[in-house]
């Protein structure tokens, strides 16, 4: 069951990368394409790192489930994948509105922060 879950997670990140007009990478990071896709998706979008640990937990649970089958670990991996899908869906929906997360970029980035600081 771990392989289809990993592929679902990769598919979520592929959607994000494609929506930004890029070709999803086939490379891997630490043996996982998922982590390479996350790195690609976060380039220029710091707030996308809010799903970095979720991706790493998915990779960790994938490894755990390779050792032995465990219903609880499998459920956790499913919930992690679901969280990633929800997060990416939310990001896709609000992309047009600008960034509202912790490491956000300014809404009027093009006008330059120097000009905006009217103080």
């Amino acid at each position: 069951m771990r392989q289809p879950l990993l592929e679902r997670a990769e598919a979520a990140l592929e959607s994000w990368v494609e929506a930004r007009g890029q070709v999803p990478t086939r490379e891997t990071v630490e043996g996982f394409r998922l982590l390479a896709l996350h790195r690609q998706g976060a380039r220029g979008v710091p707030s996308f790192n809010a799903c970095r640990e979720t991706c790493r937990e998915i990779a960790y649970h994938y490894n755990l489930l390779g050792e032995r089958q465990d219903e609880r670990q499998e459920l956790m991996m499913r919930m992690l994948v679901q969280h990633l899908e929800l997060f990416v869906r939310g990001k896709l929906e609000i992309e047009g509105l600008g960034e509202f997360c912790c490491a956000s970029r300014p809404l009027r980035q093009k006008s330059g922060s120097e000009e905006k600081t009217d103080a």
């Binding site: 809010a50 937990e57 956790m76 509202f100 300014p106 905006k116």
Partner: protein, 307 residues
């Protein structure tokens, strides 16, 4: 005397409103542990998300003003902020002022106009309430001061996203044994375990709660929160311990909304980690503001015979 024994306290806006209970419980725990809080005089908003999105350098200034008052007017070396948003923004301002000349220039210009001394990077150390207790008291001393125990309580520790991200503004983290980890934060786990709680294995401890777009996209926020709540329950948790007022409100509000809108009921409760520590230190749940929480923590504490 530990450098955290008396610190400048920056509660921030949320702790005067929706997170009033976090404010009360932080102060009560400090009192019980002999840690003194000296509230920053005439503090202002840290710039939160709204100002930062419009002009990040104004946010840097707003946070720097808080640190300037603490350092230059109150002669403090340490500022403690229990809110993840405030903590994050003060740390970010510190980083920007240390590394970006244009940020320094803007902060100096606005500070002069405002008529106060300009904050210089390095004048204060900004810490979270978790650092304050973990490094100011530590688990051994905490155990010594306990008057009760959280034994029998299964806890999922939820840190949210701003406590550890982005990593470069938290240079003191990831420094090996004893330091906090940005990948697997554990300070809250350590403190609550010392108070007798059983921490469950919870893989979503730093996952996004959707708090930042709760108004622009409530449905996604509700689904993200529901997933966190359901994962905590699947992990066996009775309660989710929080250390961020935005996360805490989001978890509580969307728990209610998930039931109303999606028909998905979850039973797990939410309590600030300071409320849990306070109970173990013998402070009454009422003084800790447990009755102010939306989720019914009082019943849980009674059921577990903790309070």
């Amino acid at each position: 005397m530990s450098k955290y024994e008396k610190v400048a306290y920056y509660p921030g806006c949320a702790l005067e409103g929706t997170a009033h209970a976090y404010n009360e419980s932080t102060k009560a725990v400090g009192k019980a542990l002999g840690l003194e809080l000296d509230e920053v005089e005439d503090w202002n908003c840290c710039g939160a998300m709204e100002v930062k999105n419009v002009d990040p350098k104004v946010q840097t200034y707003l946070s720097s003003r808080v640190m300037s008052i603490a350092a230059n007017e109150m002669q403090h070396k340490v500022v403690m902020a229990p809110c993840n948003g405030c903590y994050h923004n003060l740390k970010k301002a510190e980083y920007d002022l240390a590394h970006d000349a244009s940020s320094r220039e803007v902060v100096e210009r606005i500070s002069k106009k405002a008529g106060h001394q300009t904050y210089q990077a390095g004048q204060v150390e900004t810490i979270h309430a978790l650092d304050w207790i973990k490094d100011g008291i530590g688990e051994d001393e905490l155990k010594r001061r306990l008057k009760g125990s959280l034994k029998g309580l299964k806890v999922a520790n939820y840190y949210g996203c701003m406590y550890t991200r982005p990593r470069h503004i938290f240079p003191e983290k990831d420094q090996g044994p004893g330091s906090e980890s940005t990948l697997q934060p554990h300070f809250m786990d350590d403190l609550l375990a010392a108070a007798g709680a059983e921490n469950v294995d919870f893989p979503l401890k730093t996952a996004c709660c959707g708090g930042a777009h709760t108004l622009s996209d409530s449905d996604t926020s509700t689904r993200l929160v529901l997933n966190i709540l359901q994962a905590a329950e699947a992990a066996g948790a009775d309660v989710i311990a929080t250390e961020c007022p935005t996360c805490h409100s989001g978890l509580e509000m969307h728990q209610v909304r998930a039931e109303k809108v999606l028909g998905e009921k979850t039973k797990v409760k939410m309590l600030y980690f300071t409320q849990l520590l306070g109970v173990a230190l013998g402070v009454s749940p009422r003084k800790l503001g447990v009755h102010e929480n939306v989720s019914d923590g009082i019943s849980l504490l009674k059921e577990k015979q903790i309070a």
